[in-house]
């Protein structure tokens, strides 16, 4: 997998962007379609410029002049794209632009995932039997249809809102006297919107939610309401602590079932994290990263238990975990590099006059880069688990609606396949991704002499 993969991604993205723009233009407004197309083209050009910079810098076969020319062209194109992006943001719908912008990334992720899937034994097993393959396809189509319906609603609401704003602006120009009445109506609508937003989307009932509803208004019920997700997170922590303490209390040479499972989990985590961080630094971070993985997996799984709720479906919990990782990474950098070394790292390790001149630019750039890490960690975990919960609620509602005309006291359990899918794939994968990225953030901060080279931390170490 090399640059030819990126070429294939570009071709597919171009086609996908064109189709998406046509669909958006015909389903919503012309400007939405233009926005999607512009976003996709902008994103593709940006990737092309980035590719030119990277290949110019790391391409060993290119001559020095050719490399510099490539980097200069890539850099100039990127700067021109910033300006074009700013103009586009003022002219077209930001949501449509964002949809177009994300198309190449979606294609990239889907292509990589399909390459992995096609080589897996799971895929061979699914396609071995035509009936099994047809059932799998039906489930995928149903899930896509449901997801597309949700996106369609959001985009339509956005288009209607922008249309209403335009109409209102026209009316205000024609009749200045009615502006005040319009403003009052708009404020009223905004207040209603806020009220609806405060209620939040419907989710499955859970034990604490039922207790809170039954004791509405009481101070302790208010306390439970405020700390609902924190309480669930603590319950998960207590359960895990009990399991691990029980397993480790009386270790035997011939382990029992529980000790066996825990030992296998700990050994797996040890090999995995030491494999990434190396034998020098890896063992130090295994307890933190291994605990993080098991804790997140358990929290993701907790929502599958009836009358329970996933704490990771709340942004506060995921942000708290991401900030813990961020704090530990910065602490490690302080410890390994020292305060001056950390400052040097933040300034982009300047070693020449040009480097020092660029310090005022590199400081905010590095700060934004560091801040983006906890935000991306927390938003990804929250979005995936919350989305999974919403999917289950949607299918459960669909199952109830399907039998509502028969006045049955129950519905079709349409959410069950997705629950199994969540337990088998989404929940462990999301826990793994969070932990893997946390490990990468440690790796990028640590000096690494025993495997490869090429980061500021190492540069700093070499300098001393």
């Amino acid at each position: 997998m090399g640059l030819d993969f990126l070429v294939r991604v570009r071709r597919t993205s171009l086609l996908a962007g064109l189709v998406a723009a046509l669909i958006a233009g015909s389903s919503f407004t012309l400007s939405t379609g233009l926005g999607v197309a512009a976003g996709a083209v902008w994103s593709l050009l940006n990737l092309l410029a980035l590719e030119a910079i990277v290949t110019g810098r790391v391409g060993a076969r290119l001559g020095r002049d050719h490399s510099m020319r490539r980097i200069a062209v890539g850099g100039s194109a990127t700067l021109a794209l910033f300006i074009a992006g700013a103009v586009l943001l003022t002219q077209l719908s930001p949501i449509a632009l964002m949809v177009g912008f994300l198309i190449p990334f979606a294609v990239l992720v889907l292509k990589a995932a399909s390459m992995l899937l096609l080589q897996s034994s799971l895929w061979r097993r699914i396609t071995a039997n035509p009936w099994q393959a047809a059932a799998f396809l039906a489930v995928v189509i149903a899930a896509s249809w449901f997801a597309a319906t949700g996106t369609h609603g959001v985009l339509r609401a956005n288009a209607q809102e922008s249309h209403a704003t335009t109409t209102e602006a026209h009316a205000a120009q024609a009749e200045p006297a009615t502006t005040e009445a319009h403003a009052t109506e708009t404020e009223h609508a905004a207040a209603e919107g806020e009220h609806a937003e405060a209620e939040g989307p419907k989710m499955f009932d859970n034990v604490l939610g039922v207790v809170i509803k039954a004791n509405h208004g009481k101070p302790w019920a208010n306390f439970l309401h405020h700390f609902e997700y924190v309480i669930y997170a603590m319950i998960v922590a207590v359960i895990l602590s009990i399991i691990f303490i029980t397993a480790a209390r009386n270790p035997q040479m011939v382990p029992g079932p529980l000790q066996n499972v825990i030992e296998a989990a700990v050994e797996g985590a040890y090999n995995f994290f030491v494999g990434i961080l190396g034998p020098k630094y890896g063992p130090r971070f295994v307890p933190f990263l291994g605990t993080l993985f098991i804790y997140i997996w358990a929290m993701n799984f907790f929502g599958t238990i009836p009358m329970m709720h996933s704490p990771t479906a709340n942004l506060n919990i995921t942000v708290a975990m991401a900030l813990t990782v961020f704090g530990y990474v910065q602490f490690t950098a302080f410890k390994e590099l020292g305060f001056m070394g950390w400052l040097d790292h933040m300034a982009g390790s300047p070693r020449s006059a040009i480097g020092w001149a660029l310090v005022p630019l590199m400081m905010p750039v590095h700060l934004i880069g560091e801040l983006a890490k906890p935000i991306s960690l927390s938003c990804r975990l929250f979005g995936n688990i919350f989305g999974e919960d919403m999917l289950l609620v949607g299918f459960a509602t669909l199952g109830i609606t399907a039998l509502s005309s028969l006045h049955m006291p129950f519905g079709l359990p349409l959410q069950l396949p997705f629950m199994f899918l969540g337990v088998l794939i989404t929940q462990p994968v999301q826990a793994l991704v969070f932990t893997m990225l946390s490990t990468v953030y440690f790796l990028l901060m640590l000096p690494h002499g025993d495997h490869g080279h090429g980061h500021e931390a190492e540069a700093h170490h070499n300098a001393h």
């Binding site: 980035l50 910079i53 990277v54 810098r57 790391v58 990127t78 910033f82 992006g85 700013a86 994300l102 990334f105 990239l108 992720v109 030992e263 700990v266 050994e267 040890y270 090999n271 995995f272 030491v274 494999g275 990434i276 190396g278 034998p279 630019l361 905010p364 750039v365 590095h366 934004i368 880069g369 801040l371 983006a372 890490k373 935000i375 991306s376 938003c379 990804r380 991704v433 893997m436 990225l437 490990t439 990468v440 953030y441 790796l443 990028l444 495997h451 490869g452 080279h453 090429g454 980061h455 500021e456």
Partner: protein, 84 residues
């Protein structure tokens, strides 16, 4: 507990995959982070929309820088694995 002997090729593959996994999110989140920081600064200093655009540009620069560092590291990783 008796950890297995490390396999250098597998370790190198694992490290490269983990590093590359960080790219998509950083590419999207860094500009957004810069945009919102700029917007916040704009409201505070009443300079709308100058710092918002500056933040967006810095966010893109931060994304490019992070990706450049990651790709350089992956390249070094692959070179070192090939030599072994």
């Amino acid at each position: 507990m008796n950890p297995k002997q490390p396999d250098p090729k597998k370790e190198s593959w694992l490290r490269s995959t983990s590093l590359l996994l960080a790219i998509p999110s950083l590419l999207v989140i860094s500009p957004l982070c810069g945009l919102f920081l700029g917007r916040f600064a704009d409201r505070w200093l009443k300079t709308t929309p100058r710092l918002e655009y500056a933040g967006l540009a810095l966010g893109f620069l931060a994304a490019i820088r992070e990706i450049y560092l990651i790709i350089r590291r992956v390249k070094a990783e692959q070179e070192s694995a090939r030599r072994r």
